[in-house]
Amino acid sequence: MRGGVRIVLLDSLGERSYALLICLGEGALDQAQILPGTLDLLILKAVSLGPLHGYGILLRIGQISESALLIEQGALYPALFRLVRQGLLKANWGTSDNNRRAKFYELTATGRKRLSEGAEGWNRLALAMAAALAARPEEI
């Protein structure tokens, strides 16, 4: 599973940034498991489609990212609590489809705003990266 994460990271960051991350210490990788901010954005996106409990968010992320982004399941919760603390999510206890008590998360107004800003940022970055990577020698 860890290997999977690293490959995803290596793919999405490129060799140099990945090397930098490694230089910063294995610790940084261990703690974050994923680029900081990426997970937050994915959670916001997942929840924006309707209130979800923690496990549901995980499934939804797997679904919408076509299982490309895999994280250790427990790592979701620190991120969730952080987002609640930042006022981007709010949580209520409810009953799940499995008839179990679970905490359901939904976006707040700030959360919605942050999601659209974040998505825009990522799109810009992705376009820029794509353009940069598509550059051919004769264009320089």
Partner: protein
């Protein structure tokens, strides 16, 4: 982030801690259950599904912790947990804890005391309104003495002060109805209280409008303390008549409780208008511009917007004006201003207290270095525990935080203990009255500032020594440590702990050096020749004015008294010196003298400015001052005889080249009269023990009579018996005459006091430094021996000699000790320059001091390495090698 939400979340977590924890647990469990449901649906058994779900979830405890932290408000819980854990760890190693707490308590205590003194003396000005803008005047040689008319001139002509008040001392006999007792007062200008902006506690104060020339304002204001102790809080005291030196004065009011006059160390019993000084100090002439005893110090608030430099320039221009207008009486000295309260003591006091503060800081640093290496050793011994915790998923930051909590806990406990000791000591010091006969006190009661500073110091030092193990924890490799045990290789490289130890030893050597220099200085000042024999001379202080004698009747009465005292069996010689004997309370009136040939007696032509004393026949013999040539005073050197003088050797050589040359020669006084030198006496000390050799001259007390005098009684009898005999003899002659009797030696205590205090303080700090370095060296040596027991055992088994074993075990410690001592000695000698302010002849180039420091450090090293050395020598290879 929304601040409000954050606060709410923190508050929630704080107040509903357990509920939040339960909710989180059930949420995480719900997640695992949901996952297990899914897995079960894919065909696994429930048991297997749950197991898989838990594995997929990852480190449960770790994510729970991280979630907690992500929620915020975890700070206090973590702190509490850390504190509880730290408490358990510390309880498990009581020796370590006790050593750490004691070390820190001593260091913080020392800092609290020194800071308390600094706070009281330098940071906290006088206890009056707006004292931070209240400046006192000083002239040339660092004292504020000036003639009353000159003060009035300065008050009227300056443009810098809102108003200028003045005061001088009045040592009097105060008769409240039954018996005259001696009291110390301030003779002040009328505007004294108005300039200070103080309001009376009872009755009223006197004001400038009450002054109408000499003896026009016979009013008295009591200080609260004197009123409390001598009038028993009697509110009816206002309006009562009392007698000062047999002159009636009316008590008009009582000053408020916190008011102790305008000097920090000398608190008066009462205040009276200086215009009435003629009544209490016979011979005092308010209008005499050449008498510099009229005003001890003038002071006032600077006008808003006037800088210190402008005010000083203003004073100098007034002074220049006076020098031009009164060339005969006024001598221009460069003026300066300092915050009111310490007068001429301010500079040396500031230098000394700052020096002490630096030394105390060094003690604290040494203590931190000591504790730092203790903690590093402690952490090294716990490396297995650290490794375990790391491999169980704890973060390094978390472990560091826990260790810091331990350090800060020790720091706080030690700091609190140190502060408590310091406060007790400061309170004692405040109540201390070192000289029962002098109104000297130390208002150093600690205030909030002292508490805050001590606690801050404790916290800072906690962090300082707490982060020493940082590198160890950051580098710890759990896998290696768990596998091989904690014995990291003892390398040859210089470790942080070595550096810390060198620093600590160097600091200690600085302290030892300074305290030895101070002790040597004190010894020298105790055994220096002050120009008289203080050991076998009693001083009887008497004020005839207090019993109503005027100047004309004084000499006859004094002669009668001295003759009576000489009848006491065992008394060898009796003589008196007017006003104050040399070295008492910094007594020393200087006077200008001119060469005999000088005709223009202006200030520019002054030949010398010697101390002047008026002494009776027999004084030199009674004081034990040896006569180098000529004679002392005689009874027939009276007002009808020509003026004769005895000078000291310094005077004789400065003006006439040699003692024999000076005999029979003439010189002139400021008023033009010629004095003939009839004798030369040995040099002595006059104003302070530390002064450079000063010229002095002695005139006949018959030619210059005074009502106040110290009678010197020379005898080898037991001082107490003698005092009783003197007392009964005096009351035979005049029953109403108040006298104070003490040995000259005891009275010298006042002059020696600063260097005694300095030596004591430095001695204590030096001892603390020594203790710290003993524990430091001991800790390091013991630790290195214990870590290398096996290696030593092998060496012994291979036939190493005892000396070789010792060298291996302790060589490093001894080398560090030597380096640290050398560095410390160097800096200690540099620091001696500061000491020279207070301590007599503090010189670093003293072979005894150098040898003393080296010896002391060697002894410290010996003491500290003794036990580890014994342990290293007792190594039994058979037992050690069998162990594991």
């Amino acid at each position: 982030m929304n601040l409000l939400t954050w606060f709410r979340s923190v508050a929630e977590k704080l107040f509903h801690g357990s509920q939040v924890a339960e909710e989180m647990e059930s949420e995480l469990h719900a997640h695992i259950a949901h996952r297990a449901d899914d897995l079960e649906r894919s065909g696994l058994s429930r048991q297997e599904a749950e197991r898989r779900a838990r594995i997929e979830f990852g480190g449960y405890q770790r994510y729970r912790e991280e979630s907690y932290e992500a929620m915020g408000g975890r700070f206090f819980q973590t702190l509490l947990m850390d504190a509880r854990f730290a408490f358990r760890v510390l309880r498990k190693s009581p020796g370590f804890t006790a050593a750490a707490i004691t070390t820190l308590a001593l260091a913080i205590g020392a800092n609290a005391v020194v800071f308390g003194i600094m706070n009281a003396m330098i940071l906290r000005p006088l206890n009056v309104p707006e004292s931070e803008n209240l400046y006192g005047t000083e002239y040339g040689d660092d004292s504020g003495w000036q003639a009353y008319p000159n003060y009035v001139e300065l008050r009227n002509r300056n443009k810098s002060f809102e108003d200028l008040a003045s005061f001088t001392f009045a040592f009097v006999g105060l008769d409240t109805g039954n018996n005259p007792s001696r009291a110390t007062g301030f003779a002040t200008s009328g505007n004294y209280f108005d300039v200070l902006r103080v309001q009376p506690y009872l009755g009223r104060f006197y004001h400038a409008v009450d002054e109408h020339g000499p003896d026009s304002a016979p009013y008295l204001v009591l200080t609260y303390d004197y009123w409390h102790s001598h009038f028993h809080d009697d509110r009816g005291v206002v309006g009562r008549m009392v007698e000062i030196n047999r002159h009636p004065f009316t008590i008009v009011g009582v000053a408020p409780p916190g008011f102790h006059g305008t000097l920090l160390f000398v608190g008066p019993d009462f205040m009276m208008p200086v215009v009435n000084s003629g009544q209490v100090s016979p011979g005092f002439d308010l209008k005499d511009r050449a008498n510099y005893g009229g005003v001890f110090e003038a002071f006032g608030h600077l006008k808003p917007g006037v800088t210190l430099a402008q005010a000083i320039a203003d004073m100098n221009s007034v002074s220049a004006y006076m020098a031009k207008t009164y060339p005969k009486e006024f001598v221009h000295k460069s003026s300066s201003l300092s915050l009111q309260g310490l007068t001429s003591f301010r500079r040396p006091a500031v230098a000394f207290v700052a020096g002490l503060m630096v030394l105390a800081g060094l003690i604290l640093l040494a203590a931190c270095a000591n504790l730092g290496s203790l903690f590093a050793a402690h952490a090294a011994d716990r490396s297995r525990e650290v490794a375990l915790r790391l491999s169980l998923g704890s973060s390094r930051a978390r472990i560091l935080r826990q260790m810091l909590t331990e350090a800060v806990m020790i720091a706080l406990v030690g700091g609190a203990a140190g502060l408590a000791m310091g406060v007790v000591l400061l309170r004692r010091l405040s109540e201390w009255n070192p000289f029962p006969t002098a109104p000297v006190h130390f208002p150093v009661t600690p205030d909030a500032k002292v508490y805050v500073v001590a606690l801050l110091l404790a916290l800072v030092s906690g962090f300082l020594f707490g982060i020493v193990p940082l590198r160890q924890v950051m580098r710890a490799n759990p896998y290696e440590i768990v596998k091989t045990g904690s014995s990291a290789r003892l390398g040859r490289r210089i470790t942080v702990r070595d550096a810390l130890l060198v620093v600590q030893i160097a600091l200690c050597a600085v302290l030892v050096t300074s305290s030895l220099v101070a002790v040597r200085g004190l010894m020298r000042s105790l055994y220096c020749n002050p120009g008289f024999d203080a050991r076998h001379t009693m001083l009887v202080s008497m004020s005839l004015a207090a019993d109503g004698y005027n100047i004309d009747r004084a000499p006859a009465m004094q002669k009668r008294l001295m003759e009576a005292l000489e009848e006491i069996p065992g008394v060898e010689r009796v003589g008196l010196v007017n006003d104050f004997a040399p070295l008492l309370y910094g007594s020393g009136a200087r006077e200008n003298v001119f060469l005999n040939e000088a005709t223009d007696l202006r200030q520019a032509n002054v030949a010398l400015s010697p101390y002047r004393y008026n002494v009776s026949p027999g004084y030199f013999e009674a004081a034990g001052t040896s006569l180098l040539a000529g004679r002392g005073m005689a009874w027939n050197d009276d007002k009808s005889a020509p003026l004769v003088a005895v000078v000291n050797q310094e005077f004789a050589t400065k003006i006439f080249g040699s003692v024999t040359n000076a005999m029979g020669r003439f010189y002139k006084l400021q008023n033009g009269t010629r004095a003939r030198i009839v004798g030369v006496v040995e040099d002595g000390k006059y104003n302070s023990i530390t002064e450079a050799q000063q010229p002095a001259m002695f005139f006949s007390s018959v030619q210059f009579p005074s009502t106040g005098a110290y009678v010197a009684v020379r005898s080898h009898r037991d001082p107490q018996e003698l005092a009783a005999a003197i007392r009964s003899k005096v009351s035979e002659v005049d029953a109403g005459l108040p006298v104070d009797i003490d040995t000259w030696n005891n009275l010298l205590g006042v002059v020696l006091f600063p260097s005694r205090v300095a030596t004591m303080a430095l001695g204590v700090l030096g001892m603390m430094g020594a203790m710290l370095s003993i524990t430091g060296i001991f800790g390091m040596a013991a630790y290195s021996v214990s870590r290398r027991m096996r290696e030593l055992g092998i060496r012994v088994a291979l036939g190493a000699k005892r000396s070789e074993v010792l060298r291996t075990a302790l060589g490093r410690a001894v080398k560090l000790l030597a380096i640290g001592s050398a560095v410390g000695l160097f800096f200690g000698l540099l620091a001696t320059k500061v000491l020279a302010f207070i301590v007599y002849q503090a010189t670093p180039r003293d072979p005894l001091v150098l040898a003393g420091v080296v010896l002391a450090m060697a002894l410290l090293g010996l003491v500290a390495t003794w036990i580890p050395a014994q342990r290293a020598l007792s190594v039994d290879p058979m037992i050690l090698l069998r162990e594991d």
